[in-house]
């Protein structure tokens, strides 16, 4: 096992001894800081003093559309949940979270997982393809280490980089949130709706949960990039295809959502939040179905990478 750790150590040396990696890490931290500053100094938070009457008005409107407008079962359920949450807030005197608060900002910052995904894709795309373009693959593969182990070490190091990016995102958004907005409202709970009841939840748990949901998309796209890098030995192709699919995939799936078969496409399943706080893309899709689909896609990517990497004639 310690041998495998040494292989991961090797891959990490190759990641972090390159300038490009540190530029990406720097950009991530910079974006988090800049958006924090923008939220604090430029955006107008608006008056939130009469939030109670606002929520009451919203509820009245929602109730009306619930009765008159035609809509799907799932949409109806969603509106009812929203009404229940709003009522709970008014009853228990819990003001909605504001953007220019520590938690509000941290929740916003979870969308930057997209940037973390982007950078991790760049790393993943280079993992195997670069060894070929540098010519170092010839010396790498004549060591007493099986190709499977080499590839697994590379994949594990890519995931470690993803974890680093997420931890960095979480900690810097907490840090800059504290600097810009202070630790006020730390006790504000997050309200969620489960089994027909409104429940209070710890805010940090909620934010970590958000990170968790977004990481699924990240891991799938990174694995895809890693596979393309291994199969085609081209990092630009891997970056291009993965980013294209990451940005357009969800839209394409949305466009095609009238067809039933769309549920078998990867991007219809990467957002598991659709089952907890939204409507499933296609009627009848369940969390279990999506998890099974994700595992199938993951298995396919892993199999293709391993199979082709083991079979390949190295003749560069």
């Amino acid at each position: 096992m310690s041998h495998f750790f040494r292989l991961i150590h090797n891959e990490n040396v190759k990641i972090y001894k390159r300038m490009g990696t540190w530029v990406m890490i720097g950009i991530l931290v910079l974006v988090v800081a800049l958006v924090g500053a923008f939220t604090k100094f430029v955006l107008d938070p608006g008056s939130n003093a009469d939030w109670k009457s606002q929520l009451t008005a919203e509820n009245a409107q929602l109730t009306e559309s619930l009765e008159t407008a035609p809509m799907l079962e799932a949409q109806k359920r969603l509106l009812k949940e929203r009404i229940a949450l709003n009522e709970y807030r008014v009853e228990h005197d819990l003001a909605p979270m504001e953007r220019d608060s520590l938690w509000g900002y941290m929740v916003d910052a979870t969308t930057f997982t997209g940037i973390a995904a982007l950078f991790t894709i760049v790393i993943a795309a280079g993992m195997v393809a670069s060894e070929f373009s540098w010519g170092t693959v010839k010396l790498l593969l004549i060591r007493p280490v099986s190709r499977t182990k080499v590839l697994l070490a590379k994949y594990a190091s890519t995931l470690l980089f993803a974890v680093l990016m997420l931890v960095l995102l979480f900690s810097t958004s907490f840090l800059f949130g504290m600097i810009f907005f202070g630790f006020t409202g730390a006790e504000t709970p997050y309200l969620s709706y489960s089994n027909g009841r409104v429940v209070q939840q710890n805010m940090v748990t909620h934010i970590i949960e958000l990170f968790g949901f977004r990481s699924i998309d990240l891991i799938m796209m990174v694995t895809l990039a890693f596979m393309i890098s291994t199969v085609f030995r081209s990092s630009s192709l891997a970056i291009g295809i993965s980013l294209f699919l990451m940005f357009t995939g969800p839209q394409i799936v949305q466009l095609l959502s009238q067809y039933d078969w769309v549920k078998y496409i990867l991007f219809a399943n990467t957002d598991l939040q659709q089952y907890t706080t939204g409507t499933p893309l296609v009627e009848g899709m369940t969390m279990t179905f999506s998890i099974v689909m994700l595992l199938i896609y993951f298995g396919l990517f892993a199999f293709l990478s391993l199979f082709i990497f083991n079979k390949r004639d190295v003749a560069a």
Binding site: K14, W134, I142, K311, D313
Partner: protein, 304 residues
Amino acid sequence: MKKPIVEIKNLKKVIGDKTIIHGISMDVFPGEVFGFLGPNGAGKTTTIRMMVGLMGITEGEVLINGFSIEKNFEKAISHVGGIIENPEMYKFLSGYDNLLQYARMLPDPVKKERIDEIVKLVGLEKRIHEKVKGYSLGMRQRLGLAQALLHSPALLILDEPTNGLDPAGIREIRTYIRKIAHEEGIAVFVSSHMLSEMQLMCDRIGIIQDGHLVSVETVGDFVGEKVNTVLEIEPIEKAREFVEQTFPELNPKVNGAKLFVSASREKVPSLVKVLAENEFEIYQVSSENSTLEEKFLEMTEGTK
């Protein structure tokens, strides 16, 4: 007879519907420098890539120290150090960090002292902590050699090791290769298309042509015995007939104004004496070793 470190048995490689290597068999023994010679495109690099597991084997097998490179890769390759074509290194790392990369991949990591020892051996100690980016080709070759020797392999495979080196560098590498083979009993497998170089470096030579192994001989057999003697003599046609009758084994031939005979060194005085006694006018007698180059061209042209 020593046990061979490498056994290549009827090795074949087919890519698509083209056969690149047509069933090569040869053995390499500990303590010898084996030259693998052939023109560009003959299949040297393909054979080497199959020997180190970079390419799949279509048919036949390669055994290193008794272990199949295909079925028992990790065991077989642990005895091998190699440079395959140019020694390409991680340019953003220092020479030392590059060596550490390969040290970490071994099942039992080599000690720091061993790395320092190897660095000294290849003469890179002054610049080993600089990034490889700034290395000259010669320095990269040395680093490549260091990387190949790190784990004290029983077999060293070098693909065109003197490529891009200056004459002093070539000599140094040659001396070093002969030294480790003969003193430490390492088998060295060297490929090259530089004939003169191989003649000086190798103990045995295998010639590959269009994917066929044309011959395997010791350098002595290859070069030594056969001596061409060139005579400037008149009348030339008569002289040829005379030699043909008196010494038919010398196989005399006329080429231009010169008579070529395959006489060994010891034979030359008696030949000259007899010719002089028979009133032939001899202007010049010279003898030359048939070099590997001639032999090589002779062989490879013969098969075409």
